[in-house]
């Protein structure tokens, strides 16, 4: 690990000021991902600005019911919060499905949004990786990619975003709040993660030097009946091979509102808008759920060794929506 300077910021404005003009600086939140990447040499900051102590560690409820989750709130506190558990259970479940109790106590909401891919080539400095070293090539495209993308990838990168939390946030139209030297800004989560294209190293729309201060979840009655299902190679403490955040509101057998997002299938949490469109106003039947999944997965382009993810996601759509519908009865 390279030697680095360390500064602790007292408030968000000071944090942004400390980082400004320091191209090799990084914000330090819980450190669960950044410190690991520094040990392996993927990240080599010259300065860490510690933002974990900023007073952004709580949830505020607006008059219209929207929740604003502070960026330095730990994953554990987020999942344990009554507003989240009751109004957005899929978000609590997604957070709880991630990592371990220890890591959730350390990891912050802002850091979770910015965690890097777990593609093995990304952390193996001896192998080409466009995300780590632009222009060097993608080792996974024709290498080991059992747990890589089936949607939205390019020949430049087939890595997936590892966050569970972000999948639920994507389903509920979250908005990322940021602070830059120029002032505050809001970025819808749908626009926060950039398409891979030929710039896989540019993962988010976060401006240089900007600090995530929070995430706002608009009020969404449908979210009160929501689920997160995560499928992985062991029962706990593993990254997803496929996951789904879903919410469903059915009246008289007709789908009135539905939210679906997938995890572990793309470089970003994948909001399944095609599937949602196919369902709205139609019948809430297993056949309709399957047809909706197929509509979304028509765009899937599995790699040589990850084709299993297509039926996995399809089946997760059917079983999760069916479960939500049965629970509502």
């Amino acid at each position: 690990m390279r030697e680095f300077d360390y500064r602790r910021a007292a408030d968000a404005h000071e944090a942004v000021a400390l980082l400004s003009g320091e191209p090799e600086a990084r914000f330090l939140g819980g450190g669960t991902n950044l410190v690991d990447l520094m040990k392996t040499g993927v990240e080599n900051p010259a300065l860490l600005v510690d933002v974990r102590g900023l007073p952004l560690d709580r949830i505020e409820v607006a008059g219209d019911g929207a929740l604003t989750i502070g960026a330095t709130m730990t994953n554990s506190d987020l999942a344990a919060h009554p507003e989240v558990r009751h109004r957005y259970p899929a978000l609590a479940e997604a957070v709880l499905a991630g990592a371990s109790g220890q890591l959730r106590n350390m990891a912050t909401v802002g850091g979770n949004l910015l965690q890097r891919t777990r593609c093995g080539y990304f952390t193996d400095l001896s192998r080409p990786c466009n995300k780590r070293e632009p222009g060097s090539g993608c080792s996974a495209l024709n290498g080991e990619h059992h747990n890589h993308a089936i949607l939205g990838w390019s020949e430049h990168c087939v890595a997936t975003n590892p966050s569970d939390m972000a999948v639920a946030l994507a389903a509920f139209d979250a908005v990322v709040r940021v602070l830059t030297p120029e002032g505050s800004a809001e970025i819808p989560l749908a626009d926060f993660y950039l398409p891979v294209g030929d710039t896989p190293h540019r993962e988010t729309a976060l401006p240089d030097g900007a600090l995530i201060t929070g995430v706002t979840l608009p009020a969404a009655p449908v979210a009160a009946r929501s689920r997160y299902r995560k499928v992985r190679e062991r029962a706990s403490y593993a990254f997803a091979n496929g996951s789904i955040a879903a919410a469903l509101h059915v009246e008289d057998g007709t789908v009135r509102d539905v939210r679906i997002a997938f995890g572990a299938v793309a470089s970003r949490p994948w909001r399944a808008r095609e599937a949602e469109r196919a369902l709205i106003g139609g019948p809430a039947t297993p056949e309709a759920f399957a047809a909706a999944a197929d509509a979304e997965l028509a765009a899937a382009r599995p790699l040589a060794h990850n084709g299993y993810k297509v039926p996995l996601i399809r089946n997760l759509v059917v079983s999760t929506l069916t479960e939500l519908q049965e629970a509502a009865r």
């Binding site: 030697e3 093995g120 001896s126 080792s139 080991e144 059992h146 499928v231 062991r234 089946n315």
Partner: protein, 710 residues
């Protein structure tokens, strides 16, 4: 042959005892190798190759030597010369570290950076630029690899077997099951990374090391560095798991000794978790073909079992998967083959139940397939093929109670209520099934010495170069010594893991406690005779006490040949979600017959630990080799999954009484048998749940979703 005489009725053995080091382990007081402070300690950090085959062209030491705190960079250009031919079980060229510029696989040690602090050593290792002349490599193992060949003769190799007329028996069989099974590369991953501290002290080389046998390690180091064996002392008081990985390969130890010899100060070398994936041996992938020919009623006419595995170009290690076939079932003919192919990969080694674990997966799966083909219950099929003597050796059994294990297990598991049809039980989204498999493991003994001192204060001190790698050996040996001396365990002090105590078998091959106990028993007999011969009574002992020694070498050599194994029966119930591919084990039961069980508390824990490995092998563990680099694609604990707590349900283990005095201590060993057959029991249960046979491990999401494909 079961001997009718029961061992003497005793108070300590056979009753549960909590661990002697229990308090130290739960308070953090127990110091493992990397925990022990030394004045002036320097830290070594290994640098390993990033290419699969080639030569080191250059090592740029100047930059690194200029970094803060860096003391030395050892590499093939400046390393100490080592004596060729050293090895724990015959010469092992893996010990010849930094001796030449050849790179035989990704992850091979190419340099050691030594610095004042760990951070500095690591930074130096990260900054060290090494260039290579790369050569074409082959790291892709497959069953039909053209380089496969018979194994070289060695004391460890199982000779090929041609017994009876396999072809004629196949032709005469009413039912033939002919299948291929594969198991992947698997890695021990003891929780404690391999560590060693070496220093020269008063003319002796003192090594604190994380290993499974300090005497053996001392012998190897003496040979490697051309030292008088008496000048080397190796200790390993607490060891954080071994499973076969701590003793055979010693890169950390060898390089710590080299560094301290050059730098004249204590040096500690600790492997990183990633380095453990290429340097301490692993279970190689296997491709196995099993052909079982049987009469219409399931009686076996022929057992054919061919196993192939990759080794390295450095040293040959072949996975002896046919061990299982040699002792489980009677048949008129046997054809057993072991094949190996050298590839540009790390050298495999012994991993918990070597041979037995992958071999039992193949054979016990094939038996389940045969049971279904014949239409007979899988337990009945096994009972029908129970041999009178060793099926291949022809030797009498020292004892064999597989039948009792199967019957007792069936009773407790509720096997009688089982509907044999596959794929017909459902619980919500889960399909349910149950499976059974038989287990065996050799019951060996290695020559050992022990000494017991009757102290002047009325207590006793036992010295034996045993290792407690989590087995509970320290506690068990205390019980054994107490009974042999007819005193309470509290009056017995157990000192282990110091090569100065002399020859002793390793904590390996399920032979540790069996070997040490025999020597302790002999020493106790000798001591009691000595004490009886003393004038006066115990109160008159000299201040240094009275010591008796024992060495079982000759006793062991005088034993008649027997087929001696522990046996067991494994049962599993699984739930499979065919829509997601998830498999969950709901319960497991293992019933074993392993001779005398010294400490039921720790023994049960070890059986269950082995069964947990069987579960993990069935569902999780798989080293994925990336043929584009020749390296491992998932060489860390996030990528290489071992079972986590949530994967492990209620697992129960028990045993049946068995008296076997082939080893006079009555002990057969139980550290490894728990894994044997476990993966097959799970795979057979998955078939029973879904109707899909999984012949390739692990039974991953992908394999379940694709119907068992390779």
């Amino acid at each position: 042959m079961t001997t009718p005489a029961a061992p003497p009725r005793t108070s300590a053995t056979g009753t549960p005892h909590t661990r002697r080091e229990g308090r130290a382990k739960v308070t953090g007081e127990a110091r493992y190798t990397g925990d022990i402070p030394f004045a002036e300690l320097a830290h070594g950090w290994l640098v390993t190759s990033t290419v699969a085959r080639g030569r080191i062209r250059s090592v740029d030491t100047d930059t690194v030597l200029a970094m803060p705190g860096v003391l030395a960079v050892l590499h093939p250009g400046n390393a100490l010369r080592l004596t060729p031919g050293a090895g724990l079980m015959g010469p092992d060229a893996n010990l010849q570290l930094l001796q030449d510029d050849r790179v035989p696989h990704v992850g091979w040690p190419v340099a050691l950076v030594v610095a004042e602090t760990q951070e500095q050593a690591r930074a130096g290792a990260d900054a060290l630029v090494i260039t290579y002349d790369e050569e074409p490599y082959d790291t892709a193992f497959r069953a039909d690899h053209p380089g496969l060949r018979p194994t070289a003769p060695s004391p460890l190799a199982m000779p090929d077997v041609d017994q009876g007329d396999p072809d004629a028996e196949l032709a005469a069989s009413a039912v033939v099951v002919d299948r291929e099974y594969t198991t992947p590369e698997e890695f021990h991953n003891a929780m404690e990374p391999h560590a060693a501290m070496a220093r020269w002290e008063n003319g002796r080389l003192e090594v604190v090391d994380s290993n499974q046998g300090s005497y053996a390690v001392a012998q190897v180091l003496a040979a490697l560095f051309s030292l008088d064996a008496d000048t080397v002392r190796v200790r390993s008081e607490h060891v954080g798991g071994g499973f076969g990985s701590k003793g055979l390969r010693l890169p950390h130890t060898v390089l710590a000794v080299m560094a301290t010899t050059i730098l004249h100060r204590p040096v500690r070398v600790v492997l990183t978790r990633r380095q453990m994936f290429s340097l301490v041996g692993h279970r190689p992938a296997t491709a196995q073909r099993v052909r079982l020919g049987a009469d219409a009623d399931g009686r076996l006419r022929v057992v054919e079992h061919e196993t192939a595995s990759p080794t390295s170009t450095v040293h040959e290690f072949a996975e002896q998967s046919t061990r299982h076939s040699r002792t489980l079932y009677a048949a008129d003919a046997f054809r057993l083959r072991t094949r190996v192919v050298p590839l540009d990969v790390p050298t495999p080694g012994f991993m918990r139940a070597p041979g037995w674990a992958p071999g039992s997966f193949a054979v016990e799966s094939a038996m389940d397939e045969l049971a279904a083909e014949v239409g007979v219950d899988p337990i009945a099929l096994r009972l029908r093929n129970e041999p009178e003597t060793g099926p291949v050796s022809g030797l009498p059994f020292s004892s064999r109670n597989l039948v009792a294990c199967l019957e007792e297990g069936a009773r407790r598991f509720g096997w009688a209520d089982r509907d044999p049809r596959p794929g017909v039980r459902r619980d919500g989204r889960w399909l349910l099934g149950t499976g059974v498999a038989a287990a065996a493991h050799s019951a060996g003994v290695g020559a050992s010495t022990a000494a017991i001192t009757a102290e002047a204060d009325g207590t006793y001190t036992v010295r034996v170069t045993a290792a407690d790698i989590g087995t509970g050996a320290r506690t068990a040996l205390g019980q054994i010594a107490a009974d042999a001396l007819e005193v309470s365990p509290e009056s017995v002090r157990i000192r282990i893991a110091d090569s100065d105590f002399g020859l002793a078998w390793l904590a390996g091959g399920s032979m540790g406690t069996a070997s040490w106990a025999w020597a302790i028993n002999e020493a106790a007999v000798a001591l009691r005779k000595k004490l009886a011969d003393l004038p006066g009574d115990m109160a008159d002992l000299p201040p240094e006490g009275v010591t008796a020694h024992a060495d079982t070498t000759e006793l062991l050599a005088a034993r008649e040949q027997r087929e001696s194994h522990g046996y067991g029966a494994q049962f599993a119930e699984v739930a499979v979600d065919p829509a997601s591919g998830e498999v969950r084990v709901r319960r497991m039961l293992g019933i074993f017959a392993v001779g005398r069980v010294v400490n039921p508390l720790t023994a049960r824990n070890q059986f269950i630990g082995g069964m947990t490995w069987g579960l993990s092998m069935a569902l999780h563990e798989e080293g994925v080799r990336d043929d584009a680099s020749g390296g491992l694609a998932n060489g860390d604990l996030a990528g290489y999954h071992v079972a986590a707590n949530a994967d492990v349900p209620l697992i129960e283990a028990d045993w049946i009484d068995e008296h076997d005095t082939y080893n006079p201590s009555g002990i057969k060993g139980l550290g490894e048998i728990g894994i044997v057959g476990g993966a097959a029991a799970v795979a057979n249960a998955v078939w029973h749940a879904t109707g899909v046979r999984h012949r390739h491990l692990p039974i991953s999401l992908e394999r379940v979703l694709s119907g068992g494909r390779r």
